[in-house]
C-alpha cells in the first residue's frame, strides 16, 4: 500500500483487494473513523455532566443511547479493528509469509464490520454495552435493541473469522526456519489474543441468540417472569467479556513490545518472559469472569474463588511492565512520538492494574462497584493503555503506510495534551467513585464534591478532544504534504525494522 500517494490506485482496487496490507489499510481507516465518532459521543457525555441538571442533551433516553453507542463503538469498532489493522500489516511479515493464510476470509472478516457498525449506529440502542436482562428483554425499546443484537452478532462472527486467520497464519504459515518461540512478540500477542477469542466468544454468541428469542417472547432464558434467570446472562456475558478484556489489551502490549526496544535501541530484556506472560494471561484470563458480579448476591465461596482467579492474572501483567522498564534501562532512548505514547501507555497500564487489584478485593469492591471508579478504572485500560499503544503504533506505521513523515512537534503536542487529559478525566473519575457517584447517570444531585470532580473530568475530556483534532489534522495534512520519509530508517534509529512496504502486492 505504501507510496499510495505517489502511485495512486483507484479506490475500488484497494476496497476489493485481498492483500493483507490493503485489508490492513481498510481496517485502519475505518477504525480511526469510528474512534472519532465514538470520541465525539464521549465529549457529549462529558459536556452534559459539566453541571448538574440538563445541559446539552435534551433527555435521559438520548443520554443513555449515547453512552451505549459510545462504549459499543469504541470496543467493537475501534479497538478490535485497529488491532486487526496492525496485525494485518505486520503479522505476515513477522512470520515471513506472503500474505495472511486465508486472504479472502480476511477481506470477508473486514467487510462484515461496516454492516455491523451501521446496525449499531442506525439503531442507537439504550441498554448499555452490557445489554443486561431483564431490562434488555422487557424494557429496552426496539428496533434499536434488536439492531444492536444483530450488529454484535455480525461483529462477533467477523472477530472469530479474523482470529482463525491469525492463528493459522502464525502456526502454519510461519517460515520453517523459525521456531514458534522466535516469532516476534507482536505476532505472539495476536496468536494469544486470537486463541482467547476462539474459546471465549462462542459463549456470548449463544447468549445473544437467547437474548433475541427472549425479546421475541418465544423463550424465557433470562426472564424471571417466565422462570428464567438474569444472572445466567451475566455469567455468559462475562465469561466472554472478561477474557475479551485481555483480547483488547494484549495486542496493544504487543505493539509496545515493538516500539520500546526499537526506540531504546536495545534488544528486548526478555523475549521469553514476555512470551510466557502472554500465555499465562491467555489461560488465567478465564478464571476471573465473575469478579464483575460480586454484588449480584454471590456466596462467600464464589467470591473468594473469583478473587483468587483475578489476582492470579496480575503477575503476568506485572511481568510486561518489568520487561518494558528493563528494556529501557541503560538504552539510548529516543523519545520520538511513538515512544512517548508507548511509555505513557505503560504508566497508565500500571495505574489501571493497581486499581484493578482494589476492585477484586471483595470488601473494597462494594465501595467501587458500579460507581465512577469503575468507569475510570477500565478507561485507564481502554484509553490509557490500548488507545495509547495503538496511537503510538499508528504514528510508527505512518511512514510505511503513506511514504511520508508526520509532523513531529504536533505529534508530541498531541501526546502531552492527551496524557494530561487522560489523567484529568480518569483519575478524577476514580475519586468521583469514592464519593459514591453511580455510573450511567444523566443527572446528579448538586453535591459540591461531585460538581468539582465532574468539571475537572470534563475539562480533561475537552483537552483530549483538542489533541485528537490536532492528530487528525496532522495525519491528513502529512499524508498528502508531509516530507518524504526515509523508508529504510524513518526514525533515524539505525538497525533493521519490519518493512510493510516491501510486501509484494499483486495489484501494484
Amino acid at each position: 500500500m505504501v507510496l499510495e500517494l505517489h502511485k495512486p490506485r483507484p479506490i475500488w482496487q484497494i476496497m476489493f483487494s485481498t492483500h493483507h496490507t490493503d485489508v490492513g489499510l481498510l481496517y485502519l481507516i475505518m477504525s480511526l473513523g469510528f474512534l472519532f465518532l465514538g470520541g465525539a459521543l464521549a465529549l457529549a457525555i462529558r459536556a452534559e455532566l459539566f453541571f448538574p441538571g440538563s445541559q446539552i442533551i435534551a433527555d435521559s433516553m438520548t443520554f443513555n443511547r449515547i453512552f451505549t453507542v459510545h462504549g459499543t463503538t469504541l470496543i467493537f469498532l475501534f479497538i478490535l479493528p485497529s488491532a486487526s489493522a496492525v496485525g494485518n500489516y505486520f503479522v505476515p511479515i513477522m512470520v515471513r509469509y506472503k500474505d495472511m493464510a486465508y486472504p479472502k476470509l480476511n477481506a470477508i472478516a473486514f467487510w462484515m464490520i461496516p454492516p455491523g457498525g451501521a446496525l449499531i449506529w442506525l439503531g442507537f440502542a439504550d441498554f448499555t454495552w452490557y445489554a443486561t436482562p431483564p431490562y434488555s428483554i422487557i424494557s429496552a425499546p426496539g428496533p434499536a435493541a434488536d439492531m444492536w443484537i444483530f450488529g454484535l452478532k455480525i461483529l462477533g462472527v467477523s472477530s472469530i473469522l479474523g482470529a482463525i486467520n491469525f492463528v493459522v497464519t502464525i502456526m502454519k504459515c510461519k517460515h520453517p526456519d523459525m521456531s514458534l518461540g522466535q516469532v516476534p512478540l507482536l505476532a505472539w500477542s495476536f496468536l494469544s489474543s486470537s486463541l482467547i477469542i476462539l474459546v471465549a466468544l462462542p459463549t456470548f454468541a449463544a447468549a445473544l441468540l437467547m437474548l433475541l428469542t427472549d425479546r421475541l417472547g418465544v423463550s424465557g432464558f433470562f426472564n424471571p417472569a417466565l422462570g428464567g434467570d438474569p444472572i445466567a446472562y451475566a455469567h455468559l456475558f462475562w465469561f466472554t467479556f472478561h477474557p475479551e478484556v485481555y483480547v483488547l489489551v494484549i495486542p496493544a502490549i504487543g505493539m509496545m513490545y515493538e516500539i520500546i526496544p526499537r526506540f531504546s535501541r536495545k534488544p528486548i530484556f526478555s523475549h521469553a518472559s514476555g512470551l510466557a506472560a502472554f500465555i499465562i494471561l491467555a489461560i488465567v484470563g478465564f478464571s476471573s469472569w465473575a469478579h464483575h458480579m460480586y454484588a449480584t448476591g454471590m456466596s462467600f465461596t464464589e467470591k473468594t474463588v473469583f478473587m483468587v482467579g483475578t489476582l492470579a492474572a496480575v503477575p503476568a501483567s506485572a511481568m510486561h511492565v518489568f520487561n518494558f522498564l528493563a528494556t529501557m534501562w541503560g538504552g539510548r532512548i529516543r523519545f520520538s512520538t511513538p515512544m512517548m505514547w508507548a511509555v505513557g501507555g505503560i504508566a497508565l497500564f500500571f495505574s489501571a492494574g493497581a486499581g484493578g487489584v482494589v476492585n477484586s478485593a471483595m470488601p473494597l469492591d462494594f465501595v467501587t462497584h458500579d460507581s465512577y471508579w469503575v468507569v475510570g478504572h477500565f478507561h485507564l485500560f481502554v484509553m490509557g493503555t490500548i488507545a495509547f499503544g495503538t496511537i503510538g503504533y499508528v504514528y510508527y506505521m505512518f511512514p510505511y503506510v503513506t511514504g511520508r513523515m508526520y509532523h513531529e512537534v504536533l505529534g508530541k503536542i498531541h501526546f502531552v495534551l492527551a496524557m494530561i487529559g487522560t489523567v484529568m478525566v480518569f483519575f478524577t473519575q476514580h475519586i468521583l467513585g469514592l464519593y459514591g457517584m453511580p455510573r450511567r447517570i444523566y443527572d446528579y444531585p448538586p453535591i459540591p464534591e461531585w460538581i468539582t470532580m465532574n468539571q475537572i473530568a470534563t475539562i480533561g475530556a475537552m483537552l483530549i478532544g483538542i489533541s485528537m483534532a490536532i492528530w487528525l489534522g496532522n495525519m491528513i495534512y502529512s499524508s498528502a504534504k508531509g516530507p518524504e520519509a526515509n523508508m529504510e530508517d524513518p526514525f533515524g534509529l539505525g538497525g533493521r525494522y519490519y518493512y510493510p512496504h516491501t510486501q509484494k502486492n499483486p495489484h501494484h
Partner: protein, 150 residues
C-alpha cells in the same frame, strides 16, 4: 516445550525479574488474605438483626419493616441496631446502595439478596440505585433517616 518453542535464552541473568515477581506475588497474597478475612467478618450477620424488606422497581424504592409498616422513597432507622436488608426487584435489575455505609447489593427479580449494616450516627444519608435500570435510573434516589432511639 523447549523443542517446540526453540532456543530463546536471553543473554543476561533473570534474577531481578524473579525477585520482582516474588514481591508482586507476595503483595497479592497479602491483599487476598486481608480481603478474605475482612469479607468473612463483614458478612457475619448478627442474630438480632431486624429484617427490612427492600423492593426496587422503576424507579423508586419501597421498604417494609418487620412490623409491616411500609415506606416509599425514605427509610427511618435507629442508631445502635443491626438491620438486615432482604432485597429484590419487581421488574428489572437495580442495585440498592447506601454509599456512606458501604451497603451495596443488586436487586434482582426472582431473587432475594441479603446484606446487613448497623447505623452508628444519626443523620440523613442518600439511598441510590447503582445498576442501570432505564429512563429515570439517574433519579432513583431515596433518603435514609437515622435517629437516636427515643
Amino acid at each position: 516445550m523447549r523443542g517446540l518453542i526453540g532456543n530463546m535464552s536471553d543473554e543476561h541473568s533473570s534474577w531481578p525479574e524473579w525477585v520482582y515477581i516474588g514481591v508482586v506475588v507476595a503483595l497479592l497474597c497479602w491483599v487476598g488474605a486481608e480481603a478474605w478475612n475482612v469479607e468473612r467478618l463483614v458478612e457475619h450477620v448478627p442474630e438480632d438483626a431486624e429484617i427490612i424488606k427492600v423492593v426496587g422497581q422503576q424507579w423508586f424504592w419501597t421498604f417494609e419493616h418487620e412490623d409491616g409498616t411500609k415506606e416509599v422513597g425514605e427509610l427511618h432507622l435507629e442508631t445502635g441496631k443491626a438491620y438486615k436488608f432482604e432485597i429484590t426487584s419487581t421488574d428489572v435489575n437495580h442495585s440498592f446502595n447506601i454509599h456512606d455505609y458501604v451497603v451495596l447489593l443488586d436487586a434482582v427479580p426472582g431473587r432475594i439478596n441479603t446484606v446487613w449494616f448497623s447505623p452508628t450516627e444519626a443523620g440523613e444519608y442518600d439511598i441510590q440505585c447503582r445498576e442501570y435500570c432505564g429512563l429515570i435510573h439517574y433519579n432513583m434516589r431515596g433518603t435514609l433517616y437515622v435517629e437516636d432511639p427515643s
